[in-house]
Symmetry: C2
Subunit: 369 residues, 2 copies
C-alpha cells in the first residue's frame, strides 16, 4: 500500500507538505506542488480513508437512512437515492446506505462510531422515534419529508427539512379540476398503512385537497387504496355508487394509476371525456402511463440533490436553513378535460361512451377478489 510517507519521500518533501497539497489548506509553491502531484500520480497514491477519518474526524461519508416500508413507491425512493449518491460524489462524499428497521439505533450508531459525517433521513413519520436522537446528535441531519403537519413546527423543532409542498400540490390538483368545471372529485390515496403511520406527506396532501375543495365548492371523497387491481376496483366502484356525480379523480399512489385507468376503460368511461384524472407522481410515471397523465410531479431527484447540498453546506459551517418546500408544478397532459355537463353527467353513460358495465365482461372475475 502506498502511503503519504511514500509520496513525501518520492517527492523529497515532508509528509505535511503532501498533506497540504491534498487539502489545499495552505499555499504551496507551484514547483513543489507539481512535483508532489507528479509523485502522487506515478505512485498511484490514494489517502487511506480510515487514517484520514481518525486524524481529521471527517469521514467523507453521508449516511442515507431509507427504511423501505410498506406502501412506498420504490422507484421514487431509488431516484432519491441515486440523486443523493451522485450529488454526494460531486461534492467528494460517499453514501452509506442504512435501511430496515434499525430505526433510532442506526442514528446512534452513526453518531457514536463516527461512521458518517451527516445523515439524510427519509420516510419521516409524524412521531418518528429517530427525531429525538437526531436532535441530540452532533452531526447535521436533513430530513426528506416533514415530521410535522406544518413547516413552521418543523422549523421550531430545529429540524432541517426538504420536501415537496404536498399541501400546495393537493390544492393545485383541485384548482385545476375546478377550473375545468368538475364539482365531484374522488381522491385515491396512499395505502391505509401510510396514513396510519402518520407519514406527513399523505396527510398534508389531504389538507391541501380539502382546503381547496372548500374554497372552490367542490365535493371531495377520499379513499386510501392499496395499489392492487382489486383494491382500486372496490374503491372506485364504491365511489361511483356513493356519488354518481363524480367526474374526476386525484391519484396519489403510483401503484394505483394503471389499475384505475384500466378499470375506467373497462367500465366504458373515457379519459378525459367522461372522467378526468390528475396524479401526484413522478414525471416518469405520468408520461408513461397508458394515458399520459396531467400531474403534479414529485421531484425526487431534486429532493435528493437539495438534501445533499444542504448537508454539504452545513458540514462547511453553514447554519441550518430550516424547512424548504418545493413548489408544486402541475403539467397538463391528456388525462384531464372539461367536466361533463347535462342530465347524465357523471352517471353511467349511454351511447358511444359505453354503458357502465361494458360488453366485454371480465370473465375471470378479477374485480371481485
Amino acid at each position: 500500500m502506498i502511503t503519504l510517507a511514500d509520496v513525501a519521500r518520492h517527492a523529497g518533501v515532508s509528509a505535511s507538505t503532501v498533506s497540504y497539497v491534498l487539502s489545499g489548506k495552505r499555499s504551496i509553491s507551484a514547483p513543489t506542488r507539481e512535483r508532489i502531484q507528479h509523485s502522487i500520480d506515478t505512485l498511484g497514491y490514494r489517502p487511506h480513508a480510515g487514517a484520514r477519518a481518525l486524524a481529521s474526524s471527517r469521514t467523507g461519508i453521508l449516511a442515507l437512512m431509507m427504511p423501505l416500508r410498506t406502501g412506498l413507491y420504490v422507484p421514487v425512493m431509488m431516484e432519491i437515492a441515486m440523486a443523493v449518491t451522485t450529488t454526494a460524489r460531486s461534492h467528494g462524499y460517499d453514501v452509506l446506505l442504512l435501511t430496515g428497521e434499525e430505526g433510532p439505533e442506526a442514528v446512534r450508531r452513526v453518531e457514536g462510531s463516527a461512521i458518517a459525517d451527516a445523515m439524510i433521513v427519509m420516510d419521516v413519520g409524524l412521531d418518528d422515534p429517530r427525531l429525538p436522537c437526531l436532535q441530540e446528535a452532533e452531526r447535521p441531519a436533513v430530513l426528506i419529508g416533514l415530521p410535522t403537519e406544518s413547516a413552521e413546527s418543523a422549523d421550531a423543532a430545529g429540524l432541517d427539512c426538504v420536501d415537496l409542498d404536498f399541501e400546495a400540490a393537493g390544492a393545485r390538483c383541485v384548482e385545476h379540476l375546478a377550473g375545468l368545471g368538475h364539482t365531484g372529485i374522488a381522491v385515491l390515496g396512499e395505502p391505509p398503512a401510510v396514513y396510519e403511520r402518520g407519514t406527513g406527506f399523505a396527510a398534508r396532501t389531504l389538507t391541501g385537497l380539502r382546503a381547496a375543495a372548500g374554497t372552490h365548492g367542490v365535493g371531495l371523497l377520499h379513499r386510501p387504496v392499496d395499489g392492487t387491481y382489486a383494491a382500486v376496483t372496490a374503491a372506485v366502484t364504491r365511489v361511483f355508487e356513493e356519488r354518481p356525480g363524480t367526474t374526476a379523480f386525484v391519484v396519489q399512489n403510483e401503484a394505483a394509476v394503471e389499475p384505475l385507468l384500466a378499470l375506467l376503460r373497462h367500465q366504458g368511461r373515457a379519459v378525459p371525456e367522461d372522467v378526468s384524472v390528475v396524479a401526484i407522481c413522478p414525471d416518469q410515471v405520468a408520461v408513461h402511463a397508458s394515458v399520459p397523465l396531467t400531474a403534479v410531479s414529485v421531484p425526487a431527484p431534486e429532493m435528493g440533490r437539495l438534501a445533499v447540498e444542504r448537508l454539504v453546506g452545513r458540514l462547511a459551517g453553514e447554519t441550518p436553513r430550516g424547512t424548504e418546500l418545493i413548489p408544486p408544478l402541475l403539467t397538463a397532459r391528456a388525462s384531464t378535460g372539461p367536466a361533463l355537463t347535462g342530465p347524465t353527467a357523471g352517471a353511467a353513460l349511454p351511447g358511444p361512451h359505453g354503458s357502465g358495465s361494458a360488453p366485454t365482461e371480465d370473465r375471470r372475475g378479477r374485480g371481485g377478489h
Copy 2:
C-alpha cells in the same frame, strides 16, 4: 466522545483488555468481562470506526456498486440492495452505495483508499471495464450476474458470481408452454439497450429459450421492447402479423407486463383462454399483475443475500467458490393454459371470446402512438 481508554479507566483495566472483550480474540475472566461490559453500557461507548479501520485494516463496510443504467427494472435493483444491506447488517457490516458511471474508477477508489473491505458488483456486462480492476484488486468481490456467456468461463476468469440461472429459466418457460401444447411462442425481451450493452442475463435467457424451443419443436419469435405501451403494441402487432399461430408469450421485461396484458385484453384475446403468458420477473410483479402471472421468479432478495454471505465468508478466510447459479422456479398462476387448437387457433377469435376488436373501442387511438 467516549473512547476505549475511557472505558478502560472506568473499569480499572488496560485498554487492550477492553479491546479484547470487544473482539473476543482472547479469553477474559468472567468477572472482568462483566465489569468491562458494564462500563461499556453505562458510558454508552461505541468504537470509533476510523480508528478501528486504521488499526485493523478492516472497515466493516461492503461496497455495493449498482450502476442504475437504462432499461433496468428499478424495484429489482432495490430489492437486491435491501437484501444486501439487511444481510450485511446481520453480519455486522454496513453498505456503501456506489452508483453512476464512475465505473472502474470506483473500484480503484475502494481498493486504494480502503474505504470498504469488499465489493458487490451489479449489472455486469459482457466486457465490463470493471472486471480487470476487480481481478487485480486485493479485496474480494462478488458479482451479481455473469460477465460471460457461461458459468465455466466466469470461473475460469477467477470471478465469484451469483445469479439466477437465466438459461435454465428460459428453457423452463418454453417447457411449460410446450407442455400445454403451444407451438408458436413470442418472446418480449428487455429493451434493446440491455442487449446491446451485452448484459449477460438477457443473452443467457435467450440461449435457454432457443435451445428449449429447438428441443420441443416450437417456433420462437424474439422481440426486444422498451417498456412502453407504444413499443409493446408495435411489437405484439407485428408478431401476430408475422405469425398468426402465436398462442403464447414469454415476457422478460417487467415494464412490458401490463402493457401486454392491456393490449391483449383490448384486442379481445383472453388470457389464458386465447393466449398464454409466462413472465420472468419478481414474484411481486407476477402476483400483482392484472392477471396473476405464471412466472419464473427472479429471486432478488436471495441473490443479494447470497452475495453478502459469500463475501462475509471470504473476508473470514474462505476461498472463492466460483459461480453459483440459482435454479429457476416456475410458479403456475392464472396466465397460462392449454393451447387453442383447431382452425382459428391463434387468429382473432369469434364467439364467446370476443371478436378481436372489442366493443369498447379505444377512441383515443392509444395503440398508434
